[in-house]
Amino acid sequence: MSTQALLVTPAAPIESMLQRFGPPIVILAVVLAVWEFLVWLFDVPPWLLPAPSQVAVRFTRTPTLWYHTGLTILEAFSGFAVSALLGVSLSALIVHSRFMERGVFPYIVVSNSIPIIAVVPLLTIWFGFGLAPKVMIASIITFFPIVTNTTRGLKAADPRILDFMHSINATRSEIFFKVQLPAALPFIFAGFKIAASLSLVGAVVGEFYGSDRGLGYLVITSATQLRTDLLFVSIIVLAALGVGLFTLFGKLERLVIRGEVDTERPT
Protein backbone atom coordinates (compact mmCIF):
# COMPACT_ATOMS: atom_id res chain seq x y z
CA MET A 1 0.00 0.00 0.00
CA SER A 2 2.75 2.43 0.93
CA THR A 3 4.80 1.74 -2.20
CA GLN A 4 1.73 2.38 -4.29
CA ALA A 5 1.18 5.67 -2.51
CA LEU A 6 4.78 6.60 -3.21
CA LEU A 7 4.28 5.92 -6.88
CA VAL A 8 1.16 8.05 -7.05
CA THR A 9 2.18 11.10 -5.04
CA PRO A 10 4.86 12.56 -7.31
CA ALA A 11 2.44 12.64 -10.27
CA ALA A 12 0.49 15.81 -11.04
CA PRO A 13 -2.97 15.99 -9.42
CA ILE A 14 -4.84 15.67 -12.70
CA GLU A 15 -2.67 12.76 -13.73
CA SER A 16 -3.32 10.91 -10.48
CA MET A 17 -7.04 11.61 -10.75
CA LEU A 18 -6.93 10.06 -14.21
CA GLN A 19 -5.08 7.05 -12.89
CA ARG A 20 -7.67 6.55 -10.20
CA PHE A 21 -10.92 7.34 -11.95
CA GLY A 22 -9.92 6.62 -15.55
CA PRO A 23 -10.31 2.82 -15.56
CA PRO A 24 -13.78 2.65 -13.92
CA ILE A 25 -15.06 5.41 -16.21
CA VAL A 26 -13.80 3.57 -19.30
CA ILE A 27 -15.47 0.35 -18.13
CA LEU A 28 -18.75 2.16 -17.44
CA ALA A 29 -18.70 3.78 -20.86
CA VAL A 30 -18.10 0.42 -22.55
CA VAL A 31 -20.92 -1.27 -20.60
CA LEU A 32 -23.36 1.56 -21.43
CA ALA A 33 -22.40 1.51 -25.10
CA VAL A 34 -22.89 -2.26 -25.37
CA TRP A 35 -26.23 -1.96 -23.54
CA GLU A 36 -27.39 0.81 -25.85
CA PHE A 37 -26.25 -1.14 -28.91
CA LEU A 38 -27.98 -4.39 -27.84
CA VAL A 39 -31.24 -2.62 -27.08
CA TRP A 40 -31.12 -1.03 -30.54
CA LEU A 41 -30.03 -4.29 -32.23
CA PHE A 42 -32.76 -6.51 -30.78
CA ASP A 43 -35.33 -3.74 -30.59
CA VAL A 44 -36.03 -4.45 -26.91
CA PRO A 45 -39.29 -2.79 -25.79
CA PRO A 46 -38.64 0.07 -23.32
CA TRP A 47 -40.89 -1.44 -20.60
CA LEU A 48 -38.61 -4.49 -20.53
CA LEU A 49 -35.25 -2.76 -20.76
CA PRO A 50 -34.89 0.92 -21.64
CA ALA A 51 -31.69 2.03 -23.34
CA PRO A 52 -29.30 4.18 -21.25
CA SER A 53 -30.15 7.14 -23.45
CA GLN A 54 -33.85 6.70 -22.65
CA VAL A 55 -33.08 6.56 -18.94
CA ALA A 56 -31.01 9.72 -19.26
CA VAL A 57 -33.88 11.51 -21.02
CA ARG A 58 -36.30 10.39 -18.31
CA PHE A 59 -33.87 11.67 -15.69
CA THR A 60 -33.93 15.19 -17.16
CA ARG A 61 -37.71 15.14 -17.75
CA THR A 62 -38.84 14.21 -14.25
CA PRO A 63 -39.18 17.54 -12.44
CA THR A 64 -40.75 15.94 -9.35
CA LEU A 65 -37.70 13.71 -8.92
CA TRP A 66 -35.97 16.15 -6.58
CA TYR A 67 -39.04 16.53 -4.43
CA HIS A 68 -39.25 12.77 -3.93
CA THR A 69 -35.51 12.52 -3.39
CA GLY A 70 -35.52 15.30 -0.83
CA LEU A 71 -38.32 13.66 1.10
CA THR A 72 -36.56 10.31 1.20
CA ILE A 73 -33.35 11.98 2.33
CA LEU A 74 -35.26 13.80 5.07
CA GLU A 75 -36.81 10.56 6.34
CA ALA A 76 -33.57 8.62 6.15
CA PHE A 77 -31.58 11.35 7.84
CA SER A 78 -34.12 11.88 10.65
CA GLY A 79 -34.25 8.15 11.32
CA PHE A 80 -30.49 7.96 11.30
CA ALA A 81 -30.12 10.95 13.63
CA VAL A 82 -32.61 9.56 16.16
CA SER A 83 -30.90 6.19 16.01
CA ALA A 84 -27.40 7.65 16.36
CA LEU A 85 -28.40 9.71 19.38
CA LEU A 86 -30.25 6.89 21.13
CA GLY A 87 -27.82 4.21 20.02
CA VAL A 88 -24.65 5.92 21.24
CA SER A 89 -26.31 6.86 24.54
CA LEU A 90 -27.56 3.33 25.05
CA SER A 91 -24.09 1.97 24.31
CA ALA A 92 -22.64 4.27 26.95
CA LEU A 93 -25.15 2.88 29.44
CA ILE A 94 -24.42 -0.69 28.40
CA VAL A 95 -20.69 -0.21 28.90
CA HIS A 96 -21.15 1.36 32.32
CA SER A 97 -23.66 -1.06 33.74
CA ARG A 98 -23.54 -4.84 33.82
CA PHE A 99 -27.28 -4.85 34.44
CA MET A 100 -28.00 -2.85 31.30
CA GLU A 101 -25.69 -5.00 29.22
CA ARG A 102 -27.33 -8.25 30.31
CA GLY A 103 -30.84 -6.81 30.31
CA VAL A 104 -30.84 -4.89 27.05
CA PHE A 105 -28.52 -6.70 24.68
CA PRO A 106 -30.73 -9.76 24.10
CA TYR A 107 -33.56 -7.46 22.99
CA ILE A 108 -31.30 -5.56 20.64
CA VAL A 109 -30.35 -8.87 19.04
CA VAL A 110 -34.01 -9.93 18.84
CA SER A 111 -34.97 -6.57 17.33
CA ASN A 112 -32.43 -7.16 14.61
CA SER A 113 -33.92 -10.54 13.70
CA ILE A 114 -37.45 -9.19 13.20
CA PRO A 115 -37.90 -8.66 9.45
CA ILE A 116 -38.48 -4.93 9.16
CA ILE A 117 -40.90 -5.38 6.25
CA ALA A 118 -43.31 -7.13 8.59
CA VAL A 119 -43.33 -4.19 10.99
CA VAL A 120 -44.17 -1.56 8.37
CA PRO A 121 -47.96 -2.24 8.26
CA LEU A 122 -48.11 -2.16 12.04
CA LEU A 123 -46.40 1.21 12.21
CA THR A 124 -48.71 2.48 9.50
CA ILE A 125 -51.74 1.43 11.56
CA TRP A 126 -50.35 3.26 14.54
CA PHE A 127 -48.86 6.36 12.98
CA GLY A 128 -50.68 6.79 9.68
CA PHE A 129 -49.30 7.61 6.27
CA GLY A 130 -47.14 10.61 7.09
CA LEU A 131 -43.42 10.98 7.74
CA ALA A 132 -43.39 9.42 11.21
CA PRO A 133 -43.57 5.70 10.34
CA LYS A 134 -40.85 6.10 7.67
CA VAL A 135 -38.55 7.87 10.09
CA MET A 136 -39.21 5.14 12.65
CA ILE A 137 -38.41 2.36 10.22
CA ALA A 138 -35.20 4.10 9.21
CA SER A 139 -34.22 4.45 12.85
CA ILE A 140 -35.13 0.87 13.78
CA ILE A 141 -33.15 -0.57 10.90
CA THR A 142 -30.07 1.53 11.73
CA PHE A 143 -30.18 0.95 15.47
CA PHE A 144 -28.51 -2.43 15.56
CA PRO A 145 -25.28 -1.63 13.66
CA ILE A 146 -24.87 1.62 15.60
CA VAL A 147 -25.33 0.04 19.04
CA THR A 148 -23.21 -3.04 18.40
CA ASN A 149 -20.33 -1.11 16.84
CA THR A 150 -20.37 1.66 19.43
CA THR A 151 -20.48 -0.82 22.30
CA ARG A 152 -17.59 -2.76 20.84
CA GLY A 153 -15.68 0.48 20.37
CA LEU A 154 -16.28 1.72 23.90
CA LYS A 155 -14.88 -1.57 25.16
CA ALA A 156 -11.86 -1.35 22.86
CA ALA A 157 -9.94 1.14 25.01
CA ASP A 158 -6.50 -0.06 26.12
CA PRO A 159 -6.98 -1.71 29.55
CA ARG A 160 -3.66 -0.27 30.75
CA ILE A 161 -4.77 3.26 29.96
CA LEU A 162 -7.92 2.51 31.97
CA ASP A 163 -5.70 1.27 34.82
CA PHE A 164 -3.69 4.46 34.55
CA MET A 165 -6.84 6.58 34.72
CA HIS A 166 -8.06 4.62 37.75
CA SER A 167 -4.68 4.97 39.42
CA ILE A 168 -4.99 8.76 39.23
CA ASN A 169 -8.54 8.62 40.53
CA ALA A 170 -10.23 9.74 37.32
CA THR A 171 -14.01 9.97 37.37
CA ARG A 172 -16.22 7.84 35.16
CA SER A 173 -17.05 10.76 32.93
CA GLU A 174 -13.39 11.72 32.58
CA ILE A 175 -12.57 8.16 31.57
CA PHE A 176 -15.52 8.11 29.19
CA PHE A 177 -14.83 11.39 27.41
CA LYS A 178 -11.05 11.34 27.44
CA VAL A 179 -10.41 7.66 26.75
CA GLN A 180 -13.36 5.46 25.89
CA LEU A 181 -15.27 7.70 23.50
CA PRO A 182 -12.26 8.78 21.41
CA ALA A 183 -11.10 5.15 21.29
CA ALA A 184 -14.55 4.17 20.05
CA LEU A 185 -14.70 6.74 17.23
CA PRO A 186 -13.37 4.46 14.47
CA PHE A 187 -15.93 1.83 15.51
CA ILE A 188 -18.71 4.40 15.71
CA PHE A 189 -17.92 5.58 12.21
CA ALA A 190 -17.89 2.01 10.93
CA GLY A 191 -21.38 1.64 12.41
CA PHE A 192 -22.47 4.98 10.96
CA LYS A 193 -21.36 3.98 7.47
CA ILE A 194 -23.40 0.79 7.58
CA ALA A 195 -26.32 2.65 9.14
CA ALA A 196 -26.25 5.41 6.51
CA SER A 197 -27.00 3.02 3.66
CA LEU A 198 -29.50 1.12 5.80
CA SER A 199 -31.36 4.33 6.65
CA LEU A 200 -32.09 4.80 2.94
CA VAL A 201 -33.32 1.21 2.74
CA GLY A 202 -35.57 1.87 5.74
CA ALA A 203 -37.06 5.05 4.30
CA VAL A 204 -37.71 3.44 0.90
CA VAL A 205 -39.25 0.31 2.41
CA GLY A 206 -41.49 2.56 4.49
CA GLU A 207 -42.58 4.40 1.35
CA PHE A 208 -43.43 1.15 -0.42
CA TYR A 209 -46.40 0.70 1.85
CA GLY A 210 -49.03 3.35 2.03
CA SER A 211 -47.36 6.45 0.69
CA ASP A 212 -47.86 8.96 -2.08
CA ARG A 213 -44.42 10.48 -2.21
CA GLY A 214 -40.73 9.66 -1.86
CA LEU A 215 -38.36 7.56 -3.93
CA GLY A 216 -39.91 4.35 -2.61
CA TYR A 217 -43.29 5.53 -3.90
CA LEU A 218 -41.66 6.38 -7.23
CA VAL A 219 -40.16 2.88 -7.44
CA ILE A 220 -43.49 1.16 -6.69
CA THR A 221 -45.62 3.30 -9.05
CA SER A 222 -43.18 3.19 -11.94
CA ALA A 223 -42.96 -0.59 -11.56
CA THR A 224 -46.72 -1.14 -11.48
CA GLN A 225 -47.17 1.18 -14.46
CA LEU A 226 -44.28 -0.51 -16.30
CA ARG A 227 -42.48 2.84 -16.58
CA THR A 228 -39.20 1.02 -16.45
CA ASP A 229 -37.13 4.06 -17.44
CA LEU A 230 -38.40 5.90 -14.36
CA LEU A 231 -37.69 2.81 -12.25
CA PHE A 232 -34.10 2.91 -13.47
CA VAL A 233 -33.86 6.61 -12.66
CA SER A 234 -35.10 5.99 -9.10
CA ILE A 235 -32.69 3.12 -8.55
CA ILE A 236 -29.76 5.15 -9.87
CA VAL A 237 -30.60 8.10 -7.63
CA LEU A 238 -30.84 5.77 -4.62
CA ALA A 239 -27.51 4.18 -5.46
CA ALA A 240 -25.92 7.62 -5.85
CA LEU A 241 -27.32 8.68 -2.46
CA GLY A 242 -25.86 5.55 -0.85
CA VAL A 243 -22.43 6.17 -2.32
CA GLY A 244 -22.63 9.84 -1.41
CA LEU A 245 -23.48 9.12 2.23
CA PHE A 246 -20.72 6.54 2.52
CA THR A 247 -18.17 8.98 1.11
CA LEU A 248 -19.47 11.75 3.34
CA PHE A 249 -18.95 9.67 6.47
CA GLY A 250 -15.51 8.61 5.26
CA LYS A 251 -14.56 12.29 4.88
CA LEU A 252 -16.10 13.18 8.24
CA GLU A 253 -14.19 10.35 9.88
CA ARG A 254 -10.90 11.61 8.52
CA LEU A 255 -11.73 15.08 9.82
CA VAL A 256 -12.67 13.93 13.30
CA ILE A 257 -10.16 11.18 14.03
CA ARG A 258 -6.59 12.21 14.71
CA GLY A 259 -3.45 10.20 15.09
CA GLU A 260 -2.80 6.70 13.94
CA VAL A 261 -6.14 5.60 12.58
CA ASP A 262 -6.55 7.92 9.61
CA THR A 263 -3.00 7.54 8.34
CA GLU A 264 -3.32 3.77 8.41
CA ARG A 265 -6.43 3.92 6.33
CA PRO A 266 -5.64 3.70 2.62
CA THR A 267 -7.31 6.32 0.49
Partner: protein
Protein backbone atom coordinates in the same frame (compact mmCIF):
# COMPACT_ATOMS: atom_id res chain seq x y z
CA UNK B 1 5.46 3.95 52.78
CA UNK B 2 4.76 0.62 54.44
CA UNK B 3 3.19 -2.40 52.82
CA UNK B 4 2.31 -4.88 55.51
CA UNK B 5 1.48 -8.58 55.12
CA UNK B 6 -0.52 -9.17 51.97
CA UNK B 7 -2.14 -12.49 51.23
CA UNK B 8 -4.06 -12.73 48.03
CA UNK B 9 -5.98 -15.84 46.97
CA UNK B 10 -7.38 -14.96 43.54
CA UNK B 11 -10.95 -15.27 42.34
CA UNK B 12 -10.57 -18.17 39.88
CA UNK B 13 -10.32 -20.94 42.42
CA UNK B 14 -8.11 -20.67 45.46
CA UNK B 15 -4.95 -19.61 43.65
CA UNK B 16 -2.49 -17.95 45.92
CA UNK B 17 -1.14 -15.16 43.76
CA UNK B 18 0.64 -13.65 46.73
CA UNK B 19 1.12 -15.07 50.16
CA UNK B 20 2.28 -13.36 53.29
CA UNK B 21 4.16 -10.51 51.70
CA UNK B 22 5.78 -8.11 54.13
CA UNK B 23 7.49 -5.16 52.59
CA UNK B 24 8.46 -1.77 53.88
CA UNK B 25 9.79 0.80 51.47
CA UNK B 26 11.39 4.04 52.63
CA UNK B 27 10.59 7.44 51.19
CA UNK B 28 12.73 8.11 48.15
CA UNK B 29 13.95 4.53 47.95
CA UNK B 30 14.36 2.68 44.64
CA UNK B 31 13.14 -0.87 45.09
CA UNK B 32 13.21 -3.47 42.33
CA UNK B 33 10.82 -6.40 42.47
CA UNK B 34 12.58 -9.27 40.71
CA UNK B 35 11.08 -12.62 39.93
CA UNK B 36 9.90 -15.09 37.32
CA UNK B 37 6.62 -14.65 35.47
CA UNK B 38 3.69 -15.53 37.67
CA UNK B 39 5.32 -14.65 40.99
CA UNK B 40 2.81 -11.86 41.53
CA UNK B 41 5.17 -8.92 41.25
CA UNK B 42 2.81 -7.02 38.97
CA UNK B 43 -0.06 -7.92 41.28
CA UNK B 44 1.90 -6.28 44.06
CA UNK B 45 1.98 -3.00 42.14
CA UNK B 46 -1.75 -3.18 41.53
CA UNK B 47 -2.30 -3.80 45.23
CA UNK B 48 -0.17 -0.87 46.28
CA UNK B 49 -1.99 1.47 43.89
CA UNK B 50 -5.43 0.23 44.95
CA UNK B 51 -6.29 -1.10 41.49
CA UNK B 52 -6.76 -4.40 43.30
CA UNK B 53 -7.85 -5.05 46.89
CA UNK B 54 -5.96 -7.58 48.97
CA UNK B 55 -7.99 -10.49 50.32
CA UNK B 56 -6.03 -10.35 53.52
CA UNK B 57 -3.49 -8.11 55.12
CA UNK B 58 -3.25 -4.36 54.81
CA UNK B 59 -1.34 -1.89 52.74
CA UNK B 60 -0.41 1.51 54.00
CA UNK B 61 1.02 4.25 51.85
CA UNK B 62 2.52 7.29 53.54
CA UNK B 63 0.50 6.67 56.67
CA UNK B 64 -2.86 6.14 54.96
CA UNK B 65 -4.68 3.25 53.28
CA UNK B 66 -3.82 2.58 49.64
CA UNK B 67 -7.27 3.79 48.51
CA UNK B 68 -6.73 7.17 50.16
CA UNK B 69 -3.29 7.42 48.60
CA UNK B 70 -4.81 6.73 45.20
CA UNK B 71 -7.38 9.46 45.76
CA UNK B 72 -4.55 11.78 46.70
CA UNK B 73 -2.89 11.04 43.34
CA UNK B 74 0.24 9.63 44.93
CA UNK B 75 0.92 7.08 42.18
CA UNK B 76 2.43 7.42 38.75
CA UNK B 77 2.02 4.18 36.80
CA UNK B 78 4.24 3.07 33.92
CA UNK B 79 3.46 -0.15 32.07
CA UNK B 80 5.40 -2.55 29.89
CA UNK B 81 3.82 -0.99 26.82
CA UNK B 82 3.68 2.80 26.63
CA UNK B 83 -0.15 2.72 26.46
CA UNK B 84 -0.37 6.22 25.00
CA UNK B 85 -3.55 7.58 23.48
CA UNK B 86 -3.01 7.32 19.70
CA UNK B 87 -5.14 10.39 18.99
CA UNK B 88 -3.09 12.63 21.24
CA UNK B 89 0.32 14.09 20.43
CA UNK B 90 3.27 13.43 22.74
CA UNK B 91 2.62 16.66 24.63
CA UNK B 92 -1.12 16.03 24.88
CA UNK B 93 -0.43 12.56 26.23
CA UNK B 94 1.73 14.03 28.97
CA UNK B 95 -1.03 16.53 29.68
CA UNK B 96 -3.71 13.85 30.12
CA UNK B 97 -3.15 13.28 33.87
CA UNK B 98 -2.91 17.05 34.48
CA UNK B 99 -6.44 17.37 33.09
CA UNK B 100 -7.62 14.78 35.61
CA UNK B 101 -5.78 15.65 38.81
CA UNK B 102 -6.13 19.12 40.24
CA UNK B 103 -3.44 20.92 38.32
CA UNK B 104 -3.75 24.63 37.53
CA UNK B 105 -4.74 24.91 33.88
CA UNK B 106 -2.42 27.82 33.23
CA UNK B 107 0.67 25.83 34.26
CA UNK B 108 -0.09 22.69 32.28
CA UNK B 109 1.52 23.66 29.01
CA UNK B 110 4.77 24.80 30.61
CA UNK B 111 4.93 21.72 32.82
CA UNK B 112 4.49 19.38 29.84
CA UNK B 113 7.12 21.21 27.85
CA UNK B 114 9.68 21.06 30.63
CA UNK B 115 8.98 17.37 31.16
CA UNK B 116 9.48 16.59 27.49
CA UNK B 117 12.66 18.61 27.55
CA UNK B 118 13.95 16.53 30.46
CA UNK B 119 13.76 13.42 28.29
CA UNK B 120 14.97 15.16 25.13
CA UNK B 121 11.69 15.06 23.25
CA UNK B 122 11.03 18.78 22.79
CA UNK B 123 11.31 18.40 19.03
CA UNK B 124 8.76 15.62 19.03
CA UNK B 125 6.10 17.17 21.22
CA UNK B 126 3.64 17.53 18.34
CA UNK B 127 4.21 14.00 17.04
CA UNK B 128 1.60 11.32 17.42
CA UNK B 129 2.57 8.04 19.11
CA UNK B 130 2.78 6.14 15.83
CA UNK B 131 5.40 8.62 14.66
CA UNK B 132 7.65 7.92 17.66
CA UNK B 133 10.07 5.06 18.25
CA UNK B 134 9.47 2.54 21.04
CA UNK B 135 12.00 4.23 23.30
CA UNK B 136 10.49 7.68 22.71
CA UNK B 137 7.01 6.40 23.47
CA UNK B 138 8.20 4.86 26.72
CA UNK B 139 9.87 8.17 27.63
CA UNK B 140 6.57 9.94 27.07
CA UNK B 141 4.85 7.32 29.25
CA UNK B 142 7.41 7.88 32.02
CA UNK B 143 7.07 11.66 32.11
CA UNK B 144 3.30 11.26 31.86
CA UNK B 145 3.52 9.32 35.12
CA UNK B 146 5.62 12.12 36.66
CA UNK B 147 3.62 15.03 35.33
CA UNK B 148 1.66 15.98 38.44
CA UNK B 149 4.56 15.21 40.76
CA UNK B 150 3.28 12.05 42.43
CA UNK B 151 5.45 10.82 45.26
CA UNK B 152 5.56 7.22 44.13
CA UNK B 153 6.47 5.84 40.73
CA UNK B 154 5.18 2.33 39.96
CA UNK B 155 6.89 0.73 36.99
CA UNK B 156 5.77 -2.60 35.60
CA UNK B 157 8.57 -4.03 33.41
CA UNK B 158 8.78 -0.68 31.61
CA UNK B 159 11.86 -1.52 29.55
CA UNK B 160 11.34 -5.19 28.77
CA UNK B 161 9.90 -4.52 25.32
CA UNK B 162 12.85 -2.34 24.24
CA UNK B 163 16.07 -3.28 22.47
CA UNK B 164 19.31 -3.48 24.50
CA UNK B 165 20.72 -0.08 23.55
CA UNK B 166 17.48 1.82 24.12
CA UNK B 167 16.99 -0.06 27.35
CA UNK B 168 20.42 0.97 28.68
CA UNK B 169 19.78 4.56 27.62
CA UNK B 170 16.41 4.67 29.33
CA UNK B 171 17.78 3.08 32.48
CA UNK B 172 20.31 5.90 32.76
CA UNK B 173 17.61 8.45 31.98
CA UNK B 174 15.44 6.98 34.69
CA UNK B 175 18.28 7.18 37.24
CA UNK B 176 18.78 10.84 36.30
CA UNK B 177 15.08 11.56 36.67
CA UNK B 178 14.99 9.72 39.98
CA UNK B 179 17.99 11.67 41.26
CA UNK B 180 16.42 15.01 40.37
CA UNK B 181 12.79 14.29 41.23
CA UNK B 182 13.27 12.36 44.48
CA UNK B 183 10.57 9.79 43.97
CA UNK B 184 9.96 6.48 45.65
CA UNK B 185 10.19 3.89 42.91
CA UNK B 186 8.76 0.38 42.81
CA UNK B 187 10.23 -1.22 39.72
CA UNK B 188 9.03 -4.62 38.56
CA UNK B 189 11.40 -6.55 36.30
CA UNK B 190 12.51 -10.06 35.43
CA UNK B 191 15.92 -8.84 34.32
CA UNK B 192 18.50 -9.46 37.06
CA UNK B 193 21.19 -6.99 35.98
CA UNK B 194 18.56 -4.29 35.37
CA UNK B 195 17.33 -4.72 38.93
CA UNK B 196 20.83 -4.58 40.39
CA UNK B 197 21.87 -1.62 38.24
CA UNK B 198 18.88 0.54 39.15
CA UNK B 199 17.79 -0.28 42.66
CA UNK B 200 18.80 0.39 46.25
CA UNK B 201 17.27 -2.90 47.16
CA UNK B 202 16.25 -5.90 45.09
CA UNK B 203 13.29 -7.84 46.42
CA UNK B 204 13.53 -11.32 44.93
CA UNK B 205 10.19 -13.03 44.57
CA UNK B 206 9.26 -16.59 43.80
CA UNK B 207 6.13 -18.15 42.38
CA UNK B 208 3.46 -20.69 43.37
CA UNK B 209 2.52 -19.15 45.64
CA UNK B 210 3.90 -15.67 44.98
CA UNK B 211 6.01 -14.56 47.88
CA UNK B 212 9.17 -12.71 48.78
CA UNK B 213 12.09 -15.12 48.68
CA UNK B 214 14.86 -12.80 49.71
CA UNK B 215 15.99 -9.22 49.74
CA UNK B 216 19.34 -8.17 48.34
CA UNK B 217 20.63 -4.77 49.37
CA UNK B 218 22.52 -3.03 46.57
CA UNK B 219 25.17 -0.85 48.22
CA UNK B 220 26.78 0.27 44.99
CA UNK B 221 27.79 3.92 44.84
CA UNK B 222 25.69 6.48 42.98
CA UNK B 223 25.55 8.05 40.48
CA UNK B 224 25.82 4.82 38.57
CA UNK B 225 27.08 4.68 35.01
CA UNK B 226 27.45 1.99 32.39
CA UNK B 227 31.03 1.21 33.55
CA UNK B 228 29.59 -0.12 36.76
CA UNK B 229 28.17 -3.09 34.93
CA UNK B 230 31.65 -4.55 34.42
CA UNK B 231 32.86 -4.12 38.02
CA UNK B 232 33.29 -7.04 40.38
CA UNK B 233 30.93 -5.83 43.13
CA UNK B 234 28.20 -5.41 40.51
CA UNK B 235 28.72 -8.91 39.15
CA UNK B 236 28.82 -10.32 42.66
CA UNK B 237 25.45 -8.74 43.42
CA UNK B 238 24.02 -10.04 40.17
CA UNK B 239 25.22 -13.52 41.14
CA UNK B 240 23.69 -13.15 44.58
CA UNK B 241 20.35 -12.10 43.11
CA UNK B 242 20.49 -14.98 40.64
CA UNK B 243 21.13 -17.45 43.42
CA UNK B 244 18.23 -16.00 45.35
CA UNK B 245 16.06 -16.56 42.30
CA UNK B 246 17.35 -20.12 41.91
CA UNK B 247 16.76 -20.81 45.55
CA UNK B 248 13.31 -21.95 44.66
CA UNK B 249 13.38 -25.70 44.08
CA UNK B 250 10.11 -25.83 42.12
CA UNK B 251 11.45 -23.72 39.29
CA UNK B 252 14.96 -25.16 38.98
CA UNK B 253 14.33 -26.40 35.45
CA UNK B 254 13.07 -23.13 34.08
CA UNK B 255 15.73 -21.11 35.80
CA UNK B 256 18.64 -22.79 34.05
CA UNK B 257 18.40 -19.77 31.81
CA UNK B 258 17.70 -17.19 34.47
CA UNK B 259 17.76 -14.12 32.24
CA UNK B 260 14.67 -15.31 30.35
CA UNK B 261 12.32 -16.78 32.90
CA UNK B 262 9.36 -15.88 30.74
CA UNK B 263 9.06 -19.43 29.44
CA UNK B 264 6.63 -20.28 32.13
CA UNK B 265 3.02 -19.25 31.83
CA UNK B 266 1.40 -17.89 34.94
Amino acid sequence: MRGVGVVYPSAQGPVNALTGVDLAVADGEFVALLGPTGCGKSTLLRLVSDLLRPTSGQIEVRGQPAAAARRANEFGFVFQEPALLPWRSALENVRLPLEVVDYPASDRQARCESLLEMVGLTRFRGHYPHELSGGMKQRVAIVRALAWNPSILLMDEPFSALDELTKAQLQDDLLDLWASEKKTVLFVTHNISEAVYLADRVVVMSAHPGRIARTVTIDLPRPRTADLRETLPFLALVREAREALRGEPATLTTLTTPTTPTTRAS
